[in-house]
Each structure stands twice: as structure tokens, then as C-alpha cells.
Amino acid sequence: MTTHLGVMILFAACVSTVFGTMMRDQPRDQLRLGGRIFAGLVVGAYGLGWLMYLVFG
């Protein structure tokens, strides 16, 4: 769990849960928004990591 990817997924899960809960009222909408934020954070960080590797690595 203390790998960078594991901690990043844990962090993304916490942040997306708070934002999803705060910005929507219905549970289904909250889940949908939280899932989109979670996916955006994880995929974005992963993609940015690969981009930096290809550009600067």
C-alpha cells in the first residue's frame, strides 16, 4: 500500500468521495461524480507520469 501508486489511489479515493458527496445530493449522482473524479485523478496522474518519463526520462 505504501507504493506511490497505492498511496495515490488511496488519496484519490478519499478526495473523490468528499467531492462527490459534497457536490451532488442523490446517492447515484454522488457515486457517478465520485467515480469520474477518481478515474480522472488516477488516469491523469498515470498519464502525466508516462508523459514525463517519455519527455524527460
Partner: protein, 143 residues
């Protein structure tokens, strides 16, 4: 000075009825800063309150478990000052952790910076949660 017309009087009375109670709004926001989620519980959103409490307290606990540091207020290092300000937005957990001798910060731990990030972001998220409960308490956002 001209007397207000009946329609103006009615409008003023309606505005007075719908105006948020400043003392209540202040109290709700102060409690939201003190304990994450409790502000939402006071405005009748218990489910959201439970989610905020569990997630933010978990983030704070993870930050401490990862060896994060409870930052001091020091003007010599502005970023440390801002980090400390963010951590203090979770007021009760911050006080309890400080009194319990937690959060000394294990600088050589591999997870030290992760811990700091969790502690700071937990405080910043609680600031957003407090702003949300402010909007609900003042009627800007429907609950």
C-alpha cells in the same frame, strides 16, 4: 421622509423572515471546523455528515500513521505556515493529536511527504466542507 408603501413593507417583512440567522450560521461553521461533518449534521444532512467525518478523519489518521508532521506556525517558512494553517482547519483532531504527542514527523520515513500531504489536504477539504455548510445555512444552496 416618505412612509414605505404596503408592498414595500411586505417585501421588507419577507426579507426579514428569509434572512439567515447570523449567529446560527457562525455557530454551524465553527462546529464544522471543529469536527468534520458535524456542521452538515446540524443542518439536517446526516448522511453527508457521516461521509465527511469518516473520510476526513481517516485521511488525518493516515497522515499521522505515515509519519506526517503537525506543522508549526513559523513566519520564516511561508509554505510551512500555510501548511500549518490548513492542518488547523481540522481543529479538534489537530488539538487532540498535538496533546497526544502525535505528529512529530518521521523525516527519514519513505512516507513522510505522503503523510504531510494527507494531513494538509484533509484540512483543506474540511475548509471546502465548511464553505458548503455555510452556503446551506445561509440558503444559497438548497439542502
Amino acid at each position: 421622509m416618505a412612509q414605505p408603501t404596503p408592498s414595500q413593507s411586505k417585501a421588507a417583512a419577507r426579507a426579514a423572515e428569509t434572512a439567515p440567522d447570523a449567529a446560527r450560521v457562525t455557530r454551524v461553521c465553527a462546529i464544522a471546523i471543529l469536527v468534520p461533518g458535524l456542521g452538515h449534521a446540524l443542518v439536517g444532512q446526516s448522511r453527508k455528515a457521516a461521509v465527511f467525518f469518516v473520510v476526513l478523519m481517516t485521511m488525518f489518521a493516515i497522515g499521522l500513521a505515515f509519519g506526517g508532521r503537525l506543522l508549526p506556525f513559523t513566519l520564516e517558512e511561508p509554505l510551512v505556515f500555510l501548511g500549518a494553517a490548513a492542518q488547523w482547519v481540522l481543529l479538534a483532531p489537530r488539538i487532540l493529536a498535538g496533546l497526544g504527542g502525535l505528529g512529530a514527523g518521521d523525516v527519514v520515513a519513505a512516507t513522510y511527504e505522503y503523510g504531510n500531504t494527507f494531513l494538509i489536504v484533509a484540512g483543506l477539504l474540511n475548509a471546502l466542507v465548511t464553505l458548503d455548510v455555510f452556503d446551506i445555512a445561509t440558503g444559497r444552496k438548497r439542502s
